[in-house]
């Protein structure tokens, strides 16, 4: 495999992985390569960006319960 293809495969993550990282980011710090790959994925994937906004909204909503 040529070097650039290997690099692309390392950089690209599927949505299923990005979804998991977006959720985990709410519970633990995401560092290094994972953080960078997630950042890049979100730049190009509207579906995962939407998911990110949705889980943020859920968090704000639950925090407002009883207020």
């Amino acid at each position: 495999m040529v070097w650039w293809r290997r690099a692309v495969n390392w950089i690209r993550i599927p949505c299923s992985h990005a979804h998991r990282l977006l959720s985990e980011r709410m519970d633990r710090p995401i560092e290094g390569g994972e953080r960078w790959r997630l950042w890049l994925h979100l730049r190009i994937c509207e579906m995962c960006s939407r998911f990110e906004r949705q889980i943020d909204l859920m968090r704000s909503a639950v925090r407002r319960l009883g207020q």
Binding site: P14, S16, M26, F51, Q54, I55, A61, G66
Partner: protein, 209 residues
């Protein structure tokens, strides 16, 4: 013993004072909060008796500590703060049941095949939920949220509420429930996925609008 025989006029005054005392008006305000507090307690305890118990304990603590409250913050915020502590106490009292539900749930595997293709790409796009403030400003939205949390299995609902409402750190959750941190992240992910799906169907998909 003459001092025990009250002057009728004074006795009437005392009754009147008691009826409008801070304690009795606090009791009235607490009674009005009861349905909300019960619903919140049920969401995470998932047990009717426990929910009733923690709400009663909250009221007792609120009445005992009413001097500390003294109107300095909003009554509801103050009482909800007490409720949080009582729910945490309840989790500790019934630790065995609570952690066995969590461990049962930790053993489940959920792959969300309906959402992701074999290569991990998303098959259908999540809907655009629009302006978050619009939803957050509506009481009905919170009723749907509550219903969706109630639909989660007990183990998932509890861990989700511990993290998001009781504001536990994940390592504290692991310790309380006796699960690994990996299990904890996976369970929180599953809870969020299911809750997202339910909200999208019941609220954002147009069913409630």
């Amino acid at each position: 013993m003459g001092h025990l025989v009250a002057d009728p006029a004074t006795a009437v005054d005392e009754v009147a004072v008691e009826a409008s005392s801070p304690e009795s008006s606090l009791q009235g305000s607490l009674a009005a909060l009861r349905p909300t507090l019960l619903a919140i307690a049920r969401m995470q305890l998932r047990n009717e008796t426990w929910a009733e118990d923690v709400v009663s304990e909250t009221f007792v603590a609120a009445l005992e500590g009413s001097r500390k409250f003294a109107g300095q913050s909003q009554l509801k915020t103050w009482v909800v703060g007490i409720l949080k502590h009582k729910i945490i106490d309840q989790f500790r009292r019934t630790k065995r049941e609570v952690s066995s539900d969590a461990q049962l749930e930790a053993a489940q595997v959920e792959t969300f095949d309906e959402l992701f293709a074999a290569d991990g790409h998303r098959l259908n796009s999540p809907l655009d939920w629009g302006d978050p403030e619009e939803s957050l400003s509506r009481t009905q939205f919170f009723e749907v949220l509550q219903m969706c949390v109630d639909k989660l299995p007990a183990g998932l609902a509890r861990i989700f509420m511990m993290r998001e409402w009781l504001d536990y750190e994940t390592d504290e959750i692991c310790k309380e429930l006796g699960i690994t941190s990996t299990n904890c992240f996976v369970m929180l992910f599953r809870a969020r996925m299911r809750l997202r799906e339910c909200l999208e169907m019941q609220w954002f998909g147009g069913a409630a609008q």
